[in-house]
Amino acid sequence: MSKHDPIRMPDDTVILAKDLTKEYGDFTAVDHISFEVKKGEIFGFLGANGAGKTTAMRMLCGLSKSTSGQAWVAGYDINQQSEQIKKRIGYMSQKFALYEDLQVWENIRLYAGIYGVPEREIAPKTDELLHRLGFENEKYALVKSLPLGWKQKLSFSVAIFHEPSIVFLDEPTGGVDPATRRQFWELIYQAADRGITIFVTTHYMDEAEYCDRVSIMVDGRIDALDSPGNLKKAYSAKNMDEVFHQLARGARRKG
């Protein structure tokens, strides 16, 4: 097997992390985390500010190398094959904006090109997407003229336009009104139903309930990982907010 072939992970595993660690000098930002994420799963990646979520996510996206430990995303090694990973993932954050001075279709065209979507598929897929979102009339509108909630939906749709194996969502719903936040989660469900794996961070604990499984990071470690139902049972908690408080209260690192 050549170095650049994907490793043999079980077919239904999209992320596999083994003792993944990142140190900055004598500070261990991510401390031996191990977990798996299955195809089509909605995986909630929770933790207090400063717990190490962003550092872990950057490694999984191929943007930074681990100090020790390993991880494979979509079958590729994060340290050796980060370019292959970047082609197979989508990424969206609240801060990651579309180009405000480009029209809606131009933004889609741009990202589709960057991610290598075949030329002839782009136009029909664009129309299909705009139809699904109910944005047909906004095709030629400048992105800056859209309401925030629409931008976020469009931003998510652009992030999965190239049908990645997995999409990383970094606090995608921050600052959005409650109704739009819920519509956004319905888009997430639809993507997961199509087999796209969702890896999402959020500070809204009601959104943690919408995930299939949730991990909670404390001081660089994953201190809990299970379905919301099981976590609530294990911590005798009414809701995920209580689970989170029980775990994160013990953190030594303060955000």
């Binding site: 600052g175 959005v176 009104d177 989660w185 919301p228 994160a248 303060k254």
Partner: protein, 316 residues
């Protein structure tokens, strides 16, 4: 006649009447009025782009309203802006301290600008400052999010303001740190400081004395959180089954259902006209293959109220 003394509105920390503000084509504020009493925590709750920051900037005398009047501590925001700047503390939504100065240098700088010293008002910030004091020689730019927030609050408090403006102090902050931050606000309130605070987190509404729900530059409602919740005005049910994603769509297909939203591990529904009986809805869901159907009437929370008042539905 303009006088520098506070006259008519002596008991009010903040008073705003019919404030309008337009940026080119966007009507950022569309006739907003509010009154905040001494020692009151008043929350402005609403999403990004609703007009929260514009209102803060008008009240802190940074921009002018197109129409309407406002006063802080009895001082007019236009004619007596200098008096207002002396007596208010303002923590903007974006971190705006000097990244290249240390924690201590930032605090000293703000104290000096207001002709005071850290020592003079140390009591007021003590509770918060002790948490960042171990890092006082660290540059502000190198602090974590939670610590930046604490430093910003200290800098906004160092001249002993009587009115505090906090624009989204907890956005992007995790639930545990958010709770700690609100505890700090409660302690400040006890010292008689009036606090106007904005947030997109609906669960923080219950921590305020009174709140205004804001959307598209207008207040949808202003009242105590308890009154807002008790005036929800219609039946609200919580529904669960073994297939939550399918349940969302199936509930929307039920004739009498008006709105249906996911709420954590349950869905919340309201009805057009008279609600069905629990048995009718349960039977309907059973025929569609749902198991473990669990339905119960519940009390609304602030987020339910916000969605109802903002009139959005997910029927599309």
């Amino acid at each position: 006649m303009v006088s520098t003394s506070a006259i008519n509105t002596k008991m009010l920390a903040i008073k705003a009447e019919h404030i309008f503000k337009k940026y080119k084509k966007v009507q950022a504020l569309n006739g907003v009025s509010l009154e905040v009493g001494e020692g009151e925590i008043f929350g402005i709750i609403g999403p990004d782009g609703a007009g929260k920051t514009t209102l803060f900037r008008i009240l802190t005398t940074l921009i002018l309203a197109d129409e309407g009047t406002a006063s802080v501590n009895g001082f007019d925001v236009v004619k007596q802006y200098r008096n207002i700047r002396e007596c208010v503390g303002y923590m903007p939504g974006r971190f705006s301290l000097y990244q290249d100065l240390t924690v201590e240098e930032n605090l000293t700088f703000f104290a000096t600008v207001f002709r005071t010293t850290i020592e003079e008002n140390y009591e007021l910030i003590k509770d918060i400052y002790v948490q960042i004091e171990p890092f006082k020689t660290r540059k502000a730019g190198a602090l974590s999010g939670g610590m930046k927030q604490k430093l910003a609050l200290c800098c906004a408090l160092i001249h002993k303001p009587t009115v505090l403006f906090l624009d989204e102090p907890t956005t992007g902050v995790d639930p545990v740190s958010r709770k700690e931050f609100w505890n700090m606000l409660k302690r400040l309130k006890k010292q008689g400081i009036a606090i106007l605070v904005s947030t997109p987190y609906m669960d923080e509404a219950s921590l305020c004395d009174r709140i205004a729900l804001i959307q598209n530059g207008q207040f949808l409602k202003t009242d105590t959180p308890q009154n807002i919740v008790s005036e929800f005005g219609t039946e609200l049910w919580s529904v669960k089954s073994n297939q939550m994603s399918k349940l969302l769509n199936d509930l929307r297909r039920f004739e009498a259902v008006d709105t249906c939203f996911a709420f954590g591990d349950t869905h919340h529904i309201t009805f057009k006209g008279t609600p069905p009986t629990v048995e009718e809805l349960t039977d309907f869901l059973h025929t569609l293959g749902h198991k473990y159907v669990y339905i119960r009437p519940i009390e609304a929370n602030v987020e339910d109220c916000f969605m109802r008042l903002s009139g959005k539905t997910l029927q599309s």
